[in-house]
C-alpha cells in the first residue's frame, strides 16, 4: 500500500513543512476570494504526495510557492466571481531563499518548543496519552493498559492530539488551544463512551 510513503514524508518534513508559515503569510496577503488558505495548502501538498519523485526539486521553497500558485490559478479560472487581488503579481520568487541560513538551523530548537507548546495546549487525557506515546515512546497498546482505557480510545486521543498539532503549526494554536479546556468534558465523555461500548 502506498498511502503513506515515509521517505516522502521525511523529505516533506525537512524541505516543505518549514515553509508553511511563509506560504500562509503569502496567501493571507492575497487572500484569493472564495479560497481558503487551508484548502490551497492541502491541495498543494497533495501534489507533493503525488509526485513520482522529488529528487529533482533543487529549490523546494520556490517550488512550493510555484505549486501553490498553480493551484490558485486553477481555482481562479473555475470561479466566476474573483477578487481582483487574486490576479495581481504572484510574487517574484527568490531561489536564494533555499540556501540554508542561520535562522533555518535555529528552527529545530524552535520546532521542539512549538511541539512542547502544542502538547501543553491539549486537553488533559489527550495530553497524557500523547506524552506517553511521543515523549515516553510507549505503544498505543501499552498506553491502553497504563491509562486503563480501550485501545480505540487511545487511538482517538492520539488523533485528537494530532489535530491539536496540525492546528498549532497551521494557526499558532489559536483555534483549538483556546477550546482545549472547554473540551475537557467532551474528552471525558470520549472515555466514558468507549467504556460503555466495551460493555456491550
Amino acid at each position: 500500500m502506498h498511502a503513506i510513503n515515509r521517505e516522502r514524508t521525511r523529505w516533506f518534513l525537512r524541505n516543505i513543512l518549514p515553509h508553511e508559515q511563509a506560504l500562509r503569510n503569502w496567501l493571507a496577503r492575497r487572500q484569493p476570494l472564495g479560497l481558503e488558505a487551508d484548502d490551497i495548502i492541502q491541495e498543494t501538498y497533495a501534489i507533493f504526495a503525488d509526485l513520482e519523485t522529488v529528487a529533482e526539486i533543487r529549490f523546494p521553497r520556490a517550488y512550493l510557492f510555484q505549486v501553490a500558485r498553480s493551484v490558485i490559478t486553477k481555482h481562479v479560472r473555475r470561479a466566476r466571481v474573483v477578487s481582483i487581488r487574486t490576479m495581481d503579481d504572484l510574487t517574484e520568487l527568490d531561489p536564494r531563499d533555499d540556501y540554508p541560513s542561520p535562522e533555518r538551523i535555529a528552527i529545530d530548537r524552535d520546532e521542539l518548543r512549538r511541539l512542547a507548546e502544542a502538547i501543553a495546549s491539549m486537553p488533559d487525557r489527550t495530553q497524557e496519552a500523547f506524552v506517553l506515546r511521543r515523549v515516553d515512546g510507549l505503544s498505543q497498546r501499552e498506553i491502553s493498559a497504563r491509562m486503563a482505557i480501550s485501545e480505540n480510545t487511545v487511538e482517538k486521543h492520539i488523533a485528537r492530539g494530532l489535530r491539536f498539532l496540525a492546528d498549532w503549526f497551521g494557526h499558532g494554536g489559536n483555534a483549538l488551544a483556546e477550546a482545549s479546556r472547554v473540551r475537557d468534558s467532551e474528552n471525558m465523555s470520549l472515555d466514558e463512551r468507549a467504556r460503555i461500548q466495551s460493555v456491550h
Binding site: D38, T44, A46, I47, V81, R134, Q140, I158, V182
Partner: protein, 331 residues
C-alpha cells in the same frame, strides 16, 4: 461529499488515519477504506502527508526527555477554569482575518432538562448532549433539550441547527417540528426553521424519518436529500441534493457562507442573518448579479468590497450599512 468538504474536516480525518496507522498495520479492509478515501478529493492526500509529517515531527518529542512537564509550556494567558459553570465559555469570533473566521465558537454545556439554548447574532455554537450527540446551532437559533429514560427529544424553537446523532438502542432521537416529528437512529442532518419560511430538512448522512412513526404518512429521508415541509398536508417526497449543494448549505458550521450563482440581493439578505451590518444595494440590476464564492459570515463589509471590485461597483460604509452602487462612469 467530494468537492466541497471542508479542509478542517479533511484534516480531522487525516489525523484519524495517522493515529490508526500509529497503532499498527491496517487490515486489508482498512487499507481499502483508506485508499478509497484518498482517491476522492485531492486535498485528502495533501492533508494525510501533512498529518504524517507532523506525526513524524512529534517523534522528536522524545528529545523533550522524561522530565517533560507540559504545564511549563502552557500559555500564561490561557485560563484553567475548574467548575462546570466557568467552562461555559464562548470563544472569540473574529471574522476580520477571514481565515481566522473558520474557527467555530465552541461551547460545551452540561445540559439540564428543558433548558433552552439560544445563540445570538453571528454566533455559532457547538452543544454536546449527555449521550454524546451534538448540535451545532447557527446564528439566532434556539432549542430546548428534553432527554428522558425513554426518548431523546429536542425542540427547535427557531433558527437553524445541525444534528449529529449517536445511536442509542433504547431511546430514539426526536426533533419536534411543527406537528411533524423527525426521528433519527443515527446520522447527521440539518433543520432550518426561519420566520415566514417553511421548515427545511436536509439529511447529510444516515437517514431520518418524518411524520408520525408507524403511519403510512411517515416519509424516510435517506442521506443527501432535502424536504421542505408544507404548512399542512402530507410530507412531500425527499429530493436528492448534490454533495456540492450540501456542503454549501452547511458552510455556516465553519462561519462561512457559500454562494453558487445566487443573486447579490439574496446574498445580502443571507449576510443579514449573521451581522448587524446591512448591505444595501442601490441598483436593481446590480442586485441581480450572480455571486459565487465562499465568504466569512461575520464580514459583510469585506464581502461587499470583494463583490464591488469584481462587479465594478462601489462599496461605501456608512455606520452599520454598506451601500453598493454601480460606478457612475460606467455605461
Amino acid at each position: 461529499m467530494s468537492e466541497r468538504e471542508s479542509s478542517r474536516c479533511i484534516e480531522a480525518t487525516a489525523a484519524d488515519w495517522i493515529a490508526r496507522l500509529d497503532r499498527g498495520p491496517l487490515s486489508h479492509e482498512e487499507s481499502q477504506v483508506l485508499e478509497a478515501w484518498l482517491s476522492g478529493d485531492a486535498r485528502r492526500r495533501g492533508a494525510l502527508l501533512r498529518a504524517d509529517a507532523l506525526s513524524l515531527l512529534s517523534e522528536s518529542g522524545q528529545a523533550l526527555g522524561p522530565d517533560f512537564d507540559a504545564a511549563q509550556f502552557a500559555r500564561a494567558a490561557s485560563p484553567a477554569p475548574q467548575t462546570p459553570v466557568s467552562r461555559r465559555k464562548v470563544l472569540a469570533w473574529t471574522g476580520a482575518g477571514g481565515l481566522a473566521a473558520a474557527s467555530l465558537a465552541v461551547l460545551v454545556v452540561s445540559v439540564r432538562p428543558a433548558a433552552a439554548i439560544t445563540t445570538g447574532l453571528g454566533e455559532v455554537r457547538l452543544v454536546t448532549l449527555d449521550d454524546g450527540s451534538t448540535v451545532i446551532l447557527n446564528t439566532q437559533s434556539s432549542m430546548r433539550v428534553r432527554y428522558s429514560d425513554t426518548i431523546r427529544r429536542i425542540e427547535l424553537l427557531y433558527g437553524e441547527a445541525y444534528f449529529t446523532v449517536v445511536p442509542d438502542g433504547q431511546r430514539p432521537f426526536v426533533v419536534d417540528l411543527a406537528g411533524q416529528p423527525l426521528r433519527a437512529a443515527r446520522g447527521t442532518f440539518r433543520v432550518r426553521k426561519l420566520d415566514d419560511k417553511p421548515v427545511d430538512v436536509l439529511v447529510d448522512q444516515g437517514a431520518v424519518s418524518l411524520g408520525e412513526a408507524g403511519t403510512p404518512r411517515a416519509v424516510v429521508m435517506p442521506a443527501q436529500t432535502r424536504v421542505t415541509l408544507p404548512a399542512q398536508g402530507p410530507v412531500p417526497a425527499p429530493q436528492p441534493v448534490s454533495a456540492e449543494l450540501l456542503s454549501r448549505a452547511l458552510a455556516w458550521r465553519e462561519g462561512r457562507i457559500a454562494f453558487e450563482g445566487e443573486q447579490l440581493g439574496e446574498a445580502a439578505a443571507e449576510f443579514a442573518r449573521y451581522s448587524k451590518t446591512r448591505i444595501e444595494i442601490r441598483d436593481p440590476a446590480l442586485a441581480r448579479e450572480p455571486i459565487t464564492g465562499l465568504f466569512a459570515a461575520s464580514d459583510p463589509a469585506g464581502f461587499s468590497r470583494a463583490v464591488a471590485s469584481a462587479l465594478d461597483a462601489q462599496a461605501e460604509q456608512q455606520g452599520n450599512t454598506v451601500i453598493l452602487t454601480r460606478r457612475k462612469a460606467q455605461p
